[in-house]
């Protein structure tokens, strides 16, 4: 894999994470626990869709085969998707959605922070824009985790279950592979393994305030970054891509 290919892969990961998590959040639209949350979840989803466009358009440019963000989002099959497993997990209840969001937001925040100093100016620029948005995402998911962890007995129980259930999908976020290493080498992206400690610090502080118990390190589910997903992703794509697949020559 040369640097350009690695960069393409890297950008797909950034874009696909935003796309798939945005998709999941948009499934809440009209079904949230309160109107304010319909608004807030849609806001986060919108930010993520916007980031998807930026990352995938850049990926298409880097690839140089004439694919834009829409082509990349709508015309790849599951094995070509590069999002981490965490973001494709089903919404579950509001507790699962919020814990998934906290786990992701905190990592996303730290990653984007690293990317703002990327040697690739295009990436630094997108990261700076996204970082502003994700700062709010993280603030919000932290608040909800605390509120629900320290809310009622039921909410506490649901939050602890969600925390435990999703934990095994967090390891993948901090495991560098050859793509990540190539990006570190090229001064393009941060070493994700160095994000683990600050992330854990954030998680510990949040869990404590939420009166929740952070799970112990354990088995890690991995594969998303290499295109080996859970069985959920295929169904996401069947919906997401239906129109583009069914009407291949149309513009919308």
């Amino acid at each position: 894999m040369n640097e350009q290919e690695a960069l393409f892969e890297y950008l797909l990961r950034l874009g696909d994470n935003a796309l798939i998590l945005g998709h999941r959040l948009s499934e809440w639209c009209g079904h949230a626990p309160a109107l304010e949350e319909d608004l807030a979840l849609a806001n986060v989803a919108l930010d993520l869709i916007g980031q998807t466009q930026l990352w995938l358009n850049l990926a298409g440019t880097v690839e140089g085969k004439g694919r834009d963000a829409d082509k990349l989002a709508y015309l790849r099959d599951t094995r070509e998707f590069r999002n981490v497993l965490l973001v494709e997990q089903p919404n579950g209840d509001f507790a699962v959605t919020m814990v998934r969001q906290l786990y992701f937001d905190a990592w996303h925040y730290l990653l984007l922070q690293g990317l703002t100093t990327s040697r690739d100016g295009r990436i630094a620029e997108i990261a700076a824009k996204a970082l502003k948005e994700v700062t709010y995402h993280l603030e919000r998911s932290r608040e909800w985790v605390i509120r629900l962890g320290d809310g009622t007995e039921e909410s506490h129980r649901r939050m602890q279950t969600a925390l435990d259930d999703l934990w095994m999908y967090t390891g993948e976020l901090f495991e560098p592979d050859e793509v990540d290493r190539a990006m570190v080498g090229a001064g393009i992206g941060p070493d994700v393994s160095t994000l683990h400690e600050p992330w854990l610090g954030l998680m510990r502080a949040t869990a404590e305030e939420a009166t929740l118990t952070l799970p112990q390190p354990g088995w890690t589910q991995r594969g998303g970054k290499k295109g080996i997903h859970s069985e959920h992703l295929g169904y996401i794509l069947a919906d997401l891509q239906f129109l583009q697949r069914a009407y291949p020559n149309a513009t919308w």
Binding site: G30, F94, G151, N249, A250
Partner: protein
Amino acid sequence: MSPEERAFQDRIDADIKIEPKEWMPEAYRKTLIRQISQHAHSEIIGMQPEGNWITRAPTLERKAILLAKVQDEAGHGLYLYCAAETLGVSRDELMEQLNSGKAKYSSIFNYPTLTWADIGAIGWLVDGAAIMNQVPLQRCSYGPYSRAMIRICKEESFHQRQGYDIMMKLARGTPEQKQMAQDALNRWWWPSLMMFGPSDANSVHSAQSMKWKIKINSNDELRQKFVDQTVPQAEYLGLTVPDPDLKWNAERGHYDFGEIDWEEFYQVIGGNGPCNRQRLRTRVKAYEEGRWVRDAAEAYAAKKAARTQAKAA
């Protein structure tokens, strides 16, 4: 009329806004609550037919626009519930009325969105009809409602343009897309005309509401205005309005149009539309499944307040 009522009517006649803490006739308050909450409920239920296509929108941009639109509807619902709350009813009470099936919402949302073109048609026709209803209400007599309408109308006209833009893309697209657009127009045209309510002859409450300036134009006036505005837009798209009786009446300076199927209208209002049950059940399910979250948020807020107080003491 009592002196209070007289003074109240005088203010209205002088185009002075009524504000929450002022005296108002009980019937005015009740009518307004009904009208505003119905409008709020319509925004909330209206999220469903459009929400149905968010995960399947055909491009990232269309997805973002649609999501933002449905989000705006949640926002409109919020403004309107707040406006209703100034009249002494809580959002929870109103939600309970909606969930129990007691409260009404706009019947148009009981039709299914079957293709992507329906998203265009809803923006163009349904939001178009809504704006036609709402623009005059910016001048309505009740301050909070009037101000909510001003905010809402601005966003709605944006939505209508986006809907028309979807239709345009389809109408100028492949033959299948054009057919999709025509089909959507066929299905949404008559329900859109029904959005203005029964014809004036059969419209109850209207006279009093108009005197109170919480209804500004008659149903038939607005419907005519909508037809006059929309028909040329359809022509521009190259689509055919599904009404054989539709034709320009030079004498009246308006389009004549065919008879509305009021039987369908009353059936759908009465609960027998294609999606009434689905819409309500979805809403109730979201509400019930969200209860633990709302309870927890409340419990947390109470704890936090207690802690702050304990610290202060």
